[in-house]
């Protein structure tokens, strides 16, 4: 690599470099700027934000918006619910996926191809919204926290990735050696397979957690009790309703109500930051496993 840069660079390579760098900078700015703007707007004085005077730097730094956000009971309740659904759902999903993925990775399991085919079929064909609704209703799961934990936890795609990873990483010799030592399937899984699968556990845990953290539609369909709403449903109310519906206290003083109205935009920016930072922060921890994990899933599709 080093040698190459010392060699003479031809003009067409130089043009190529300039063009790709321009593209890259453009990509980075396009991706970063909206995120950056949201953050600076959330710290700025509502007056400047509402008048569109904010472009590159925060103006009139204040934490008013955040104070309002954290005073809103719906945000706190939604946060708590989402944490429960995401936490339990991820643990449940990782367990089911690892167990199934391991079994399906074993070549000496009769019937594994049939089960695999039945699983994969559901990736391309499904019952649809209403039949799903009827099933959930007949199981008495409508408006239950259990349903919010279950939905989205197990996906065939994750099972396939796990299976491919384990099929590639667990050698038959290892299993044979363990078996000679009198180690059964269950113990082999717990004490050999799991410790060697940290990468794939991290990847699928992230996948499942992101789905749980971000989903709103299932909750919109199945949940009727506001106390059980996940964060995203409240966010929908706050971010996408025409008027500012954030209501920390019922303002009777007209001047205070006006001020609250003015703060609408800043509060929205604050809500966006507060709801998104946790899930974005998870990614760097898992990043090192990532390219590997995704590649396995893609190769064997």
């Amino acid at each position: 690599m080093k040698k190459r840069s010392k060699m003479q660079v031809s003009w067409d390579d130089r043009v190529f470099d300039i063009v790709t760098w321009a593209f890259l900078l453009f990509f980075i700015v396009i991706v970063m700027y909206p995120l950056y703007f949201v953050v600076i707007a959330s710290f700025s004085d509502p007056m400047y934000v509402n008048n569109g005077q904010l472009v590159f730097l925060p103006k009139g730094i204040t934490l008013m918006g955040y104070r309002r956000v954290f005073m809103d009971k719906r945000i706190l309740s939604g946060y708590l619910n989402t944490l429960i659904y995401t936490g339990c759902g991820t643990v449940f999903g990782v367990c089911v996926t690892m167990l199934a993925g391991y079994s399906l990775s074993r070549k000496d399991l009769p019937g594994r191809n049939i089960i695999m085919m039945l699983f994969v079929f559901t990736m391309y064909f499904s019952g649809g919204m209403i039949p799903m609704y009827l099933v959930v209703k007949s199981l008495n799961l409508v408006n239950t926290r259990l349903l919010m934990v279950l939905l989205g936890s197990v996906s065939v795609y994750n099972i396939i990735i796990t299976r491919s990873f384990l099929a590639g990483n667990m050698s038959d010799d290892l299993l044979d050696a363990a078996r000679i030592d009198g180690c059964g399937n269950a113990r082999f899984f717990v004490s050999i397979v799991l410790p060697l699968s940290k990468a794939i556990v991290a990847v699928i845990a992230l996948y499942i957690a992101v789905v749980h953290w971000n989903s709103y539609f299932n909750a919109m369909i199945f949940m009727t009790d506001e106390g059980k709403y996940p964060l995203q449903l409240y966010l929908r109310e706050i971010l996408l309703s025409a008027t500012t519906t954030i209501n920390t206290t019922t303002e009777t003083d007209p001047e205070a109500a006006m001020r609250l109205q003015q703060m609408g935009q800043v509060i929205k920016y604050g809500v966006i930051v507060v709801s998104t930072v946790p899930i974005i922060c998870v990614y760097p921890f898992v990043q090192k496993y990532f390219v590997k994990g995704v590649m396995i899933g893609s190769v064997k599709g």
């Binding site: 990509f27 649809g128 209403i130 099933v135 929205k268």
Partner: protein
């Protein structure tokens, strides 16, 4: 030893593995296969009180109802337009990004670029649409502010006017998913041998030629697989984002099959009708997938199955 005996011995020895599979089988059975049984109501006059089996048969009534509604062509057209637009824009961009990132020699900068471009993927649909609505809002939104510096009017209602709907939908999707979708190509590109590049360089190939003749052939199978998968989804524009972007002004261009299914089914309680539309949608998707896969198998030798 006969084959059957062998199988039985294996099954007995590995019975624990079947136990391992049980939770997943129950889950898939309950949330995937049980709803498929419910598809029967697409051919019935379903009422909740009579149940799935007790409701009278209706034949193909609901399908013909759908084909004859005045909005049928509009909804079908919207769905196709959005998904083809997304495909044409959203398919090549991640590949270009991956090829560019792969060309960065500075490892730290490479990692930085990747982290930055993945970030939007983690933003939820609700927050994404919320961000769009504040950033693009007519007076206070920063996009309009920037446009007014460039001589624009500064009060374009991007989120309301129907002529912007498709662009907003597709380009926000590109913004959110481009980086993430490039991972798979970056992963495939790390497998390209450096010797091949070196050989091409000695033969006098410049960077662009090396990308065209070394890198792209190497990721071609990945590209084909993803293209097939995308084509299989040509009639399934998800309801999650469209529903949030919808308003009274833009429904003529924003109503797609999935949102129509939701409205007919859960808002108007027309269960059988909604199920029939869903089934129609599903079958078309499945047929397209199988066809594209077959063509690809013949032409390129790569396929999903």
């Amino acid at each position: 030893m006969t084959q059957r005996k062998k199988t039985l011995i294996l099954m007995k020895r590995n019975w624990v593995l079947y136990l391992f599979l049980l939770p997943a089988v129950i889950y898939i059975g309950t949330f995937m296969y049980a709803p498929m049984y419910g598809l029967i109501i697409a051919f019935k006059d379903f009422t909740a009180s009579k149940g799935i089996m007790g409701s009278p048969w209706a034949g193909m009534k609901w399908f013909t109802t759908f084909f004859h509604t005045p909005r049928f062509w509009q909804i079908l057209g919207n769905t196709l337009a959005i998904s083809l637009y997304s495909l044409v824009v959203g398919f090549p961009l991640p590949i270009i990004l991956a090829l560019i990132i792969n060309n960065i020699n500075n490892l730290k900068f490479k990692k930085f670029t990747q982290t930055v471009t993945y970030m939007p993927y983690f933003i939820s649909t609700v927050v994404l649409v919320g961000m769009m609505s504040v950033l693009f809002s007519p007076r206070s939104g920063v996009i309009n502010t920037l446009l007014s510096y460039l001589g624009g009017s500064g009060d374009t209602f991007f989120m309301g006017e129907s002529k912007y709907f498709r662009h907003m939908y597709v380009w926000s999707g590109v913004w959110q998913n481009m980086g993430w979708n490039s991972i798979i190509y970056i992963a495939a590109l790390t497998g390209v041998s450096q010797e091949l590049h070196e050989a091409a360089r000695i033969d006098g190939a410049n960077k662009l030629q090396r990308i065209l003749h070394v890198d792209i052939p190497a990721i071609l199978p990945t590209m084909i697989i993803l293209l097939i998968m995308n084509c299989g989804n040509v009639l399934s524009v998800g309801y999650e984002k469209v529903y949030l972007l919808q308003n009274d002004l833009n429904t003529p261009v924003s109503e797609v099959i999935s949102t129509y299914i939701y409205k007919m089914g859960l808002q108007q309680q027309r269960y059988s009708y909604s199920t029939a539309i869903g089934l129609f949608n599903n079958v078309i998707n499945f047929l397209v997938l199988v066809t594209v896969n077959k063509i690809s198998n013949k032409v390129s030798g790569t396929g999903l199955f």
